[in-house]
Symmetry: C2
């Protein structure tokens, strides 16, 4: 008899798994419960939607519900799963106030993550937003737009009338961004592009903590050059109001006039549903999984922003909620469920972000404390090299910071910052990490060279060469 | 007693070795014989010098003779080595008609390569050039420049008066390029930029043979869009003259009016000196070396364009005369000579070239005959994917062609063509080749993603994914 594969959550991990399972084993009944409207969308594009480079939210959709239906996936939007019973193999969903029970043979929990909202006084005011979902992005973009300045239907397609609640009587002139992570900085660019004065408040000594202080300093300088007010070591204590709307932010003992606030303090895995069902969470707070993405229950899988992944550098579970990890794991689980057991793959913590004109990338372990915790004796080296041959016009500096283990010479990680050629250069390091290379081996990689694209010694090779020298 | 390290040839390999040996073992006497004037220069920049993006040849020089002198390297320009005696450990050089004998303890042959000039009728005419050395580039650039249009000294610095022989009475309006390899196509761009009508004659069915026919077709289309006349399967039979100057090219039975010809039919290793000394050549015609760059004689090394390197994919000697290979090997040999035995490193055949607005890259083995010869059963897959997230503005198509061994799934090579993000994307594949990865392993690499730089599944991952599916 055909098996039933139930998926909770209709974004990257969930829809990848559903599609793959249905394609590889067409007899499988594949049911996806999505509590909202949107499925299979590129949340990473949301800052560019607010910025105005992407016109509608529909542009962010990779596959429409209709396309999934054509593929034979039984997608049920506006169905919120409220209970999972792994013993009986049944999930319970609520739709329009009605309760639906759905038995399964295989289950994938792909419930994603939610924006963390710290308990700041005033965080519930009109004019305070997060940016994690399609809905939240629409609210932010609406709030930048004056009432009456757009036709009634411009923001409404596929969404309902609610968004018009967020069109604003008075366009904001300044914004306080709480948190200097990816989303905070991408949104700083978006808000600047829309003409707002932008303040970024970061409670830590530097923005972009996972990229290390060296890379962060370059980013901070660049942000200031672009007119962003960057406040480091600065905790937001209170959001002020005036007539029920945001009027200012109190942070680090000072007050800053802003008439809008974006809270971008990271995300937390949506793991409560799983935890209540007895599915084990890991130390990170996300759902613990094995190399096939399976949880402590047979045939119950977890993937995407709600799940842990195995970090090949630390050889330990990790929670890095990023799009590729979700897509890869979803696809692999779909394949496994279809009868071809497929590991979800290791991560090495690769990430890249565009901050105005800068590209900022990282991979592996670059923080020395984290490296020591993983049993290494870390040594780091920073180099600056040109992005093109020294004589070829248009090049600019690249900063590469590379970390290795002193005794073994094993490459542990790197960050790269620059104006061009960063995003895909980090992939060389990421690939070397997957291959467990030493810096000596990296130094002798046969990488591409032509004057418009690189010096003869690519900056990655130069960093490895100098770091290898330091280890001797 | 201090050892004497003699280097024949003062470009990438030779000067890298000389510098490194002197730095690591300062007591070593390091003597470099260079038959010409120029040392340590970036020959890869010559097309851009002709194009006009690089003003003077001096801009291409990485380190000046004075800088080498400061480092204690005894650099002897205009010294042509005419004999090597590996038994007596002595080289003989000629300088200004005088003969100099120089004993050595360690010797590096770094004599480079020379442009191949096929025996075409008329190839010696005024107006026929090659582009491999600094001198030849100056001749070409001079020939594009009318007599009297430049001050007498503009091209003369560090060069002598000879160049003025090449200033032309009548600026050429059209050029025939014999050969559609790297240099031929880079020079097509340079000549077009200078307003010439450009014909490229390629005797093979496609330009850029090492990149495979698929990539080549995209390049050929692009060349034609840029106004270049591309003649494939077309052998140049004769260069016509009028009053001792080039007037046309006869090729494939047709005649084409051109008033200048560039011969760009590849390079051949300068291995005669070594061969006469009893140093063994490999099957490629370049000097055979072991993993330390050592020849059949103890303490006699060879590196750079005159030497073979070990290809990690074919596990066989190979001759890929490119800049990084020369620099790496030179540096490693310098280190070895200084007392720290260091392998010169494997190559995987990585290369990239800019052709007008296209970036074209390759690595590994992509030709099926070559793969079979190396003992593989090759399967290839071509995919087209976007360079950025589908919704992010400004992206363009990337074509990735990937090859793997059917039974083992071992990655063998790839080519990538596109308008952005090509040059450094190939490095991911190159690194995976060094690590002996399968396409399954490539499919699960944790590569960088952000909408401005890549789709969620990087095109390299997508190619691996589709190719892996084809292997099942």
């Amino acid at each position: 008899m055909a098996r039933t594969f139930v998926v909770i959550g209709g974004d990257a991990a969930g829809m990848s798994a559903a599609s793959k399972a249905k394609r590889d084993a067409p007899d499988t009944e594949v049911v996806v419960f999505e509590k909202g409207q949107w499925v299979s969308y590129g949340a990473c594009g949301l800052p560019y939607y607010v910025k105005g480079e992407i016109e509608t939210l529909d542009d962010l959709v990779a596959m429409t519900p209709e396309q999934f239906a054509e593929r034979g996936v039984d997608l049920r939007q506006h169905h919120e799963v409220v209970d999972v019973d792994p013993e009986e193999q049944v999930v319970t969903a609520v739709h329009d106030g009605e309760t639906v029970e759905q038995p399964y043979d295989d289950l994938l929990v792909a419930t994603g993550a939610s924006a963390i909202v710290p308990p700041i006084d005033g965080v519930d005011l009109d004019g305070v937003f997060t940016l994690h979902s399609m809905d939240s992005a629409k609210k932010v973009k609406s709030y930048l737009t004056q009432e009456g300045s757009v036709p009634e239907d411009e923001f409404l397609e596929g969404y309902g009338a609610e968004v018009h609640d967020y069109l604003t009587a008075k366009t904001p002139e300044s914004v306080g961004i709480v948190g200097g992570g990816y989303v905070g900085l991408e949104m700083a660019e978006a808000f600047e592009a829309r003409g707002l004065d932008v303040h970024v408040f970061e409670m830590l000594p530097h923005v972009l903590a996972p990229f290390g202080p060296g890379a962060a300093e370059t980013v901070e300088d660049h942000l200031r050059e672009q007119g962003v007010d960057v406040h480091l070591d600065t905790t937001v204590e209170r959001i002020d109001e005036e007539a029920g709307r945001v009027a200012g932010v109190e942070a680090g003992g000072e007050r800053f006039d802003v008439d809008m606030v974006l809270v971008a303090t990271g995300v937390a895995p949506n793991a409560d549903l799983a935890a209540e069902a007895g599915i084990e969470l890991g130390e990170t707070g996300a759902i613990a999984t094995d190399e096939y993405g399976e949880t402590n229950y047979d045939d119950v899988y977890a993937a995407g922003d709600c799940a842990e992944a195995h970090n090949a550098v630390t050889d330990a579970p990790d929670h890095v909620p990023l799009a590729l990890t979700a897509n890869r794991a979803g696809r692999a689980i779909g394949q496994t469920v279809a009868g071809d057991p497929t590991p979800v793959g290791d991560i090495v913590g690769t990430a890249v972000v565009k901050v105005f004109d800068l590209e900022v990338a990282r991979t592996g372990v670059i923080d020395h404390d984290e490296a020591r915790e993983a049993g290494y004796d870390p040594v780091s080296q920073e180099i600056t090299a040109e992005s093109r041959a020294h004589y070829y016009p248009g090049g600019s500096d690249l900063e590469v910071r590379m970390t290795a283990d002193r005794e073994s010479g094993k490459l542990l990680g790197a960050s790269i910052v620059g104006h061009e050629g960063v995003a895909k250069r980090i992939d060389t390091v990421a690939t070397a990490l997957h291959a467990d290379m030493t810096v000596d081996e990296v130094e002798y990689l046969d990488l591409a060279y032509a004057p418009p694209f690189s010096p003869v010694w690519d900056p990655v090779l130069t960093a490895a060469k100098v770091l290898a020298g330091k280890l001797e």
